[in-house]
C-alpha cells in the first residue's frame, strides 16, 4: 500500500509525464513530499500559478503530450483559472491537479478553501473531485484520457489533502472505458465521398484550416491533399503552420487581420473545405455579410457542435481530422480532375495577391513588422514563436512564415495577455534545444514578467522580442480609428527600464532604437547569447498599425488596407 500522494506521482510516471509546472502550498504538501522522493517527474517552480498553467499549456502545444500543472487549494486554484480558460478556448490537452482542504472541512469556509469544481466547471472539458483514495488512480487515468481524446481540453482533478495521506493499493488501469464518453474518430465514408464529389465540381475552391489540423497532427496529410487538389489554402490564427506558409498555394492568414487575397478568396469561394476550424467571429467577420454569397461548405471537425454553429454546412464530416484526411486521400488516389475554371480562379487570386496587402510604410523609427521579418531571417524560419495578445501578436502571425506545425504558440481564442513568457518556458521544457522567441509588447510582458525569475532558475533561454511603442497598441489602434483618437488609458507611462530589469533578474538586456541595429542585435542574441534569456527592448514607431483590418461588424471583404490611409 502507498499513500494517495505517492499514487498521484505514480500515475504521472505511468502517463510518462516528464515535467510538471506548479507551486506548492498547504493542501499539496503530501504530494510535493512524494515528488521530492523521486527523479522521473521533474518540477518547474513558477512564480505565479497562472504561469504554471500557461507553461503546461505551451508544453502541450509544442509537443504531442498532455501538459500538467500542480497547484494548491484556494488562491492556488483561482490563479489558474485564466490559464485553464485559455487552454479550453484553444482545445489544449492539459491536466491540472489541485489540492483541496481535507474532506471533512469542505463547505466550512476553511482556510484556503474554494469550490474548485464549481469555479472551473465552465472552462474545463471535465473536472473531478476525488472523494475516496480508492478512486484516485482511476480518476487521474480518466483525466488524461478525457484531456487527450476527442476534442482535447483541460481537465481539473481536485484532491482533498486527507486523500493524499490515506493508504491504498496502487493499480493503474492500462485502458479505460466510459459509457458516457466515446468520441468519434473515423468520419462517415459516405459523407467523405460526397465531399470529394463537391470538390470535383468546385470552380472557386478554398481550403480553410484551423487549430484542429495542428491538434490532430495532420499537417502532412493536409499538405498532401492540398497539393493533390491544387487549391488555395488559408489558415486561421490557430492553424498557422498547418500548411507551409512559404508554399505557392498558401494565400496567408484570413480574418480580421488576414491578407487581402485570403479574405477575398474565402468570401467569393463557391466551395469551402473547412478542416478543424470553426468559422469564429474573428475569421468570417459579419455573419450576415458572409452568408450573402452562395457557396457550398464541407466541414471536417471532431466536435459536432462546431458544425453548423455559425455557418450552415452542406457536407458535415464528424471525425478526427487526420483520419478523415486519410480517407479523403485514399479516395483521391484514383485521380482528381479539378474543374477547368479553377485556373481562372487562380488568376483572380494572383490579382488579389498583387495588391501586396502586407506592405507597410517606411519610417525613421523601427517598424515592428521589420523586426518580425528580421527575426524570421535570423532564426531561419525555424524558431518556436510564442506571443502575447495585441498588435505584436498580429505582426508575428502575419510576418513570420510558419512552415511547420506546433511552432506558433499563442492564445487565439481567449486572447490572454501575459501568456508569452510562460509559453516560452513550456516550449523549452518540451523542446530543450529549440530556438524560442516570445514576440510581445510592453503591455503584455508585464502581465507575467515575474517569470524571468523562473527562467533564471531553470536556465530557459527565451528571447523576448519586446515591441515597445509605449502604448497598448491594439487598443490605441481602435481608439485612433473608431473613437476619434481619444486615447483613453491606452498610454503606458512609467515603464520600467527593461534592460536593467532583465539584468536584475540575472539575464541579458538590450535596447534597440535604430532600424539598422535590429538585425545585428537579433544575430547577437541568437548566437553569442544562445544560452541566455535576452530581453530585447525594441523601441518601435508608435504609430504603426495592423493592416489589413476588418472592423468589428464589417464583412470579410470590407477591409481597410494600409494604402487606404
Amino acid at each position: 500500500m502507498i499513500s494517495g500522494a505517492e499514487i498521484v506521482i505514480r500515475c504521472l510516471q505511468e502517463e510518462k509525464v516528464d515535467c510538471v509546472f506548479g507551486y506548492p502550498g498547504g493542501s499539496v504538501l503530501h504530494i510535493y513530499d512524494a515528488l521530492f522522493k523521486q527523479d522521473e517527474v521533474k518540477h518547474v517552480l513558477v512564480r505565479h500559478e497562472q504561469a504554471a498553467v500557461h507553461a503546461a499549456d505551451a508544453y502541450s502545444r509544442s509537443s504531442q503530450k498532455v501538459g500538467v500543472a500542480l497547484v494548491t487549494s484556494g488562491p492556488g486554484v483561482t490563479n489558474t483559472v485564466t490559464g485553464i480558460a485559455t487552454a479550453y478556448m484553444d482545445s489544449i490537452p492539459m491536466v491540472v491537479l489541485c489540492g483541496q482542504v481535507p474532506t471533512q472541512y469542505i463547505g466550512q469556509d476553511a482556510f484556503q478553501e474554494c469550490d474548485t469544481v464549481g469555479i472551473t466547471r465552465p472552462c474545463v472539458k471535465h473536472n473531478f473531485l476525488v472523494k475516496d483514495v480508492k478512486d484516485l488512480a482511476i480518476t487521474i487515468k480518466k483525466a488524461f484520457h478525457i484531456a487527450a481524446t476527442g476534442r482535447p481540453g483541460p481537465v481539473v482533478v481536485d484532491i482533498p489533502k486527507d486523500i493524499t495521506a490515506q493508504m491504498c493499493d496502487f493499480d493503474y488501469p492500462k485502458t479505460i472505458q466510459m459509457r458516457s464518453y466515446n468520441p468519434v474518430v473515423k468520419g462517415h465514408l459516405g459523407q467523405i465521398k460526397k465531399a470529394v464529389q463537391v470538390l470535383q465540381e468546385a470552380k472557386r475552391p478554398i481550403i480553410y484550416t484551423g487549430g484542429g489540423v495542428i491538434l490532430s497532427d495532420a499537417a502532412d496529410k493536409l499538405t498532401q491533399l492540398a497539393r493533390k487538389l491544387d487549391f488555395p489554402v488559408t489558415n486561421t490564427l490557430m492553424g498557422l503552420g498547418g500548411y507551409p506558409a512559404t508554399d505557392r498555394q498558401f494565400v496567408g492568414m484570413l480574418g480580421m487581420h488576414g491578407t487581402f487575397e485570403a479574405n477575398n478568396a474565402m468570401h467569393y469561394a463557391d466551395v469551402i473545405l473547412a478542416v478543424g476550424a470553426r468559422f469564429d467571429d474573428r475569421v468570417i467577420g459579419n455573419p450576415e455579410h458572409f452568408s450573402g454569397e452562395k457557396r457550398r461548405v464541407i466541414h471536417i471537425d471532431i466536435d459536432p457542435s462546431s458544425i453548423s454553429k455559425r455557418v450552415k454546412v452542406d457536407v458535415p464530416i464528424v471525425g478526427n481530422v487526420a483520419d478523415v484526411l486519410d480517407e479523403m486521400l485514399k479516395l483521391l488516389d484514383g485521380g482528381f480532375k479539378a474543374d477547368p475554371e479553377v485556373s481562372d480562379w487562380w488568376k483572380q487570386i494572383d490579382a488579389w495577391r498583387g495588391r501586396n496587402s502586407l506592405a507597410y510604410r517606411q519610417s525613421n523609427h523601427i517598424m515592428p513588422q521589420y523586426v518580425v521579418e528580421k527575426l524570421y531571417e535570423v532564426t531561419g524560419g525555424d524558431a518556436f514563436i510564442t506571443s502575447d495578445v495585441g498588435q505584436h501578436q498580429m505582426f508575428a502571425a502575419q510576418y513570420y512564415k510558419f512552415d511547420k506545425p506546433r511552432r506558433w504558440i499563442n492564445s487565439g481564442g481567449l486572447g490572454t495577455m501575459g501568456v508569452g513568457l510562460p509559453y516560452g518556458m513550456g516550449v523549452l521544457m518540451a523542446n530543450p534545444n529549440a530556438q524560442v522567441a516570445c514576440v510581445t509588447g510592453e503591455g503584455s510582458i508585464q502581465m507575467c514578467i515575474q517569470e524571468m525569475s523562473t527562467c533564471k532558475q531553470y536556465g530557459l533561454p527565451v528571447k523576448i522580442i519586446n515591441l515597445n511603442n509605449g502604448m497598448l497598441g491594439m487598443v490605441r489602434q481602435w481608439q485612433e480609428m473608431f473613437y476619434s483618437k481619444r486615447y483613453s488609458q491606452s498610454y503606458v507611462t512609467s515603464l520600467p527600464d527593461f534592460v536593467k530589469l532583465a539584468e536584475a533578474y540575472g539575464h541579458v538586456g538590450m535596447r534597440i532604437e535604430k532600424p539598422e541595429d535590429v538585425e545585428p542585435a537579433l544575430r547577437k542574441a541568437f548566437t553569442e547569447h544562445k544560452d541566455d534569456l535576452v530581453f530585447m527592448d525594441f523601441i518601435i514607431d508608435p504609430g504603426a498599425n495592423v493592416f489589413p483590418m476588418v472592423a468589428a461588424g464589417k464583412g470579410l471583404t470590407e477591409m481597410i488596407l494600409a494604402e487606404d490611409l
Binding site: 469544481v117 464549481g118 466547471r121 465552465p122 472539458k125 471535465h126 473531485l129 478525457i146 476534442r151 466510459m178 459509457r179 458516457s180 464518453y181 466536435d303 459536432p304 457542435s305 453548423s308 454553429k309
Partner: protein, 163 residues
C-alpha cells in the same frame, strides 16, 4: 418551438449543475427541469422543457452530448410520446367554496390528499396545459399555494431510452 429533452446522465455529484450551467452559459432557456435516479441507481434521468429555433435545439442537443457525464440525449417531442406533470395545490375550502373545490377536483380527476377545516390540498396529474386550465378555472383568491414538478415524459411504444 417547445421541446422536451430527455437525458440519461451519470448519477454523480454536480451532474445537475453541469447541465444547468451549460444552459445558462450559452443562453438557452429552461422552462422546467426534473431529475431523479432511474431503476439503475448509477444513472439519473433528466427531463428539460425548453424552447428555441431548430438551430438552437440542434446546438442544445450537441452541447449536451458533449458533456462527459451525459450518456444519452433524446428530443422526446420529435416523435410520439406522453408527458405528465404533477401539481399539488392548496386552496381555501370554506363555506360554498368547499363543495365547489371538491367538484372541480373531480372534474379534473384530481384527488384531495389533505383536508383541514378551511383548506384542501389537491393532487393533479396531467399535461401541463391541463394543470394550467385547472388553475385558470379557480377563483384566484382561493389559491393559497401551488407546487409543480415540471414536465416528465417518455416515448410511446418501442421508443425506449436506455443504455
Amino acid at each position: 418551438m417547445r421541446h422536451i429533452i430527455s437525458i440519461l446522465i451519470e448519477n454523480e455529484a454536480g451532474a445537475l449543475s453541469r447541465v444547468a450551467g451549460l444552459f445558462s452559459a450559452r443562453g438557452y432557456n429552461i422552462e422546467s427541469l426534473t431529475v431523479a435516479p432511474t431503476e439503475d441507481p448509477s444513472l439519473s434521468r433528466m427531463t428539460i422543457l425548453t424552447w428555441g429555433s431548430d438551430e438552437v435545439l440542434e446546438q442544445i442537443n450537441k452541447q449536451l452530448n458533449k458533456l462527459v457525464d451525459v450518456v444519452k440525449v433524446v428530443d422526446l417531442s420529435e416523435a410520439a410520446h406522453v408527458e405528465r406533470e404533477l401539481m399539488l395545490i392548496k386552496v381555501r375550502a370554506t363555506g360554498k367554496d368547499r363543495e365547489e373545490m371538491k367538484r372541480m377536483a373531480d372534474i379534473f380527476r384530481g384527488r384531495i390528499i389533505d383536508v383541514t377545516e378551511s383548506t384542501y390540498v389537491i393532487e393533479l396529474t396531467g399535461a401541463s396545459s391541463k394543470l394550467d386550465s385547472f388553475i385558470a378555472g379557480l377563483d384566484a383568491g382561493l389559491i393559497l399555494e401551488t407546487v409543480r414538478t415540471g414536465v416528465c415524459g417518455i416515448g410511446r411504444g418501442d421508443r425506449i431510452l436506455k443504455v
